[in-house]
Symmetry: C2
Subunit: 322 residues, 2 copies
């Protein structure tokens, strides 16, 4: 697997983290014990912990100093996924049934809270009190991003800027946080911390743009949800923003969205309009621009082996589209 | 209002906390800005902050030292209420529409997370790092309590012990935490901290038993949800546990619950069976026992004026039934 090859520099550490993750989500409540385990081991790519580990190599690298931080970002990610799946009504995540589909939305609400509370506990019992401040701020921004997405549903006037505002919070800040945590914990110079933070943010933005693209181009099996789920739910993403400006059928597209039409034929028309508008290509170009920005962010950093890993990870993000 | 009279010793501090609460839940996201404000100001009794403030008087009282702690327990309470309302599908809370009924369950999930993340932030920027450990542990136990309630739905074999296990986590630990935080922050002697913790735990248990009683005895307007909501949802509480053992119609009651019957006539039968079983009286007696235990917990504490407030609060908890 390409991804594993890219990460072989930090492969061993990532394996140790699997055990840690398991320990942190363990509970005596049988109802969620196995479902949480299954979710953790359903093949997440651990991109965020990888970011922590990679960034920490630019300072005085000490795995024990960053180990818990790497776990924490994956736990935050897991908690938001559990709550996201409630909202999207997703039956599958990474090919396995979601907690909400296995146990109902009610259980999923508190299962997500449970994982969230574990993040709290992790920091409370760590030495990273200073870093907790950064984490806390990002956490509430992530929530704001998710709420912004609800606020912007079916908003056909959404701009590029609105979209970036939202995905920075919803997705990119956790990548940026991961890089920052790794760099700070290993006492990298402030300039390096900032560069890695920017790298994380740009990668995160590219990552989400690609995610939104895949919603149009993947098939149902790959996604675990119907193609065009975003259009169906009224989530306006970059390809749609483009189509709403540039498609010859933009008025029709606007009409479908504004009137929240649910007729399958109309939904499929909307998806086709976006696909034929050039919006996917546009979004892919923008994603690539952010990947370039990410790579540029770390240009000035010392040429240690892990730098190549970061460059490779960034390429991987856009390759997901193909 | 009786409650206000009882609390007049800490009335001024509680008023200051209202401002603090408002500041903490403020957000730029218009979607939830007003709904969160409305919820905060819908007439919550601030029992938990009152507990923090009262307990802190047994040490070197300094309002500024406990101010944020008092806010934090109300924020935790608010976050769990938002998520609870999703699960209960409640249209009203304290007489005003719930966030889930105003904005949908999706928004409520992240609105609750948002408030939860603010607790995180509050501690990150406070001086109470030591106390964060206690808070973190309680947070995950609260989630476990909520999950246990889901796990135990329609379980007609539920025992008194199971029930207490659940409500300790779901409700009582936050009361105990509140008392402990106040006492610890003001450096009360360890013996005093422990006594106040026990007081909080026992009051919390009594409080939840009474809440579960009210579900049978209040009317729809008072509750903001149909009478017998617990029976409808399959939540087995103390009166039902009693009825399942002692009612002459226990087999019929068991049948209704085990088969999750939703027919209105059958539900009403189940409610009547519980009411006629003596289960309400039993539960009221148990609640009173816990109030007595609470009062006994603080018997040895110095006779400062606030001690009377604690005794009065405890009486108030059971009086809610009448």
């Amino acid at each position: 697997m390409v991804y594993k090859q890219i990460l072989k520099d930090i492969e061993e550490e990532l394996l140790i983290l699997e055990e840690d993750l398991l320990a942190w989500i363990d509970t005596d409540i049988d109802l969620i014990k196995q479902p949480l385990k299954d979710m953790i081991f359903s093949g997440g790519k651990r991109l965020r912990p990888a970011m922590v580990l990679a960034a920490s190599r630019f300072g005085q690298y000490d795995f024990e100093k960053v180990r818990q931080l790497a776990v924490s970002v994956e736990l935050i990610h897991t908690a938001t996924l559990i709550h996201d799946d409630i909202i999207d009504d997703s039956p599958l995540r990474r090919g396995i049934p979601t907690i909400q589909s296995r146990l109902g939305k009610d259980v999923a609400v508190f299962a997500g809270d449970f994982v969230f509370s574990k993040v709290f506990e992790l920091y409370a019992f760590s030495e990273h009190f200073e870093l907790l401040r950064i984490v806390a701020k990002v956490l509430h921004k992530i929530c704001e991003g998710e709420l912004k997405q609800r606020e912007d549903l079916f908003n056909t006037n959404l701009t590029f800027k609105d979209y970036i505002f939202r995905i920075r919070r919803k997705t990119a800040m956790l990548f940026a946080l991961s890089a920052e945590l790794g760099a700070r914990a290993s006492k990298a110079p402030e300039k390096t911390v900032k560069a890695l933070y920017r790298y994380g943010m740009n990668i995160g933005i590219a990552f989400q743009i690609v995610d939104d693209l895949l919603d149009f181009t993947s098939n149902n099996t790959q996604l675990g949800k119907p193609v065009g789920a975003d259009i169906r739910e009224g989530v306006i993403t970059l390809p749609t923003i483009y189509a709403l400006r540039h498609s010859k059928q933009k008025e029709y597209l606007k009409d479908i969205l504004l009137n929240k039409r649910t007729d399958e034929a109309e939904i499929e028309n909307a998806i086709e309009i976006v696909k034929n508008s050039g919006g996917l290509n546009y979004a892919r170009c923008i994603a690539e621009k952010y990947v370039e920005k990410a790579q540029k962010s770390i240009e000035q950093l010392p040429d240690i082996p892990i730098k190549k890993v970061l460059v490779n990870i960034s390429t991987l993000v856009t390759n997901r589209t193909k």
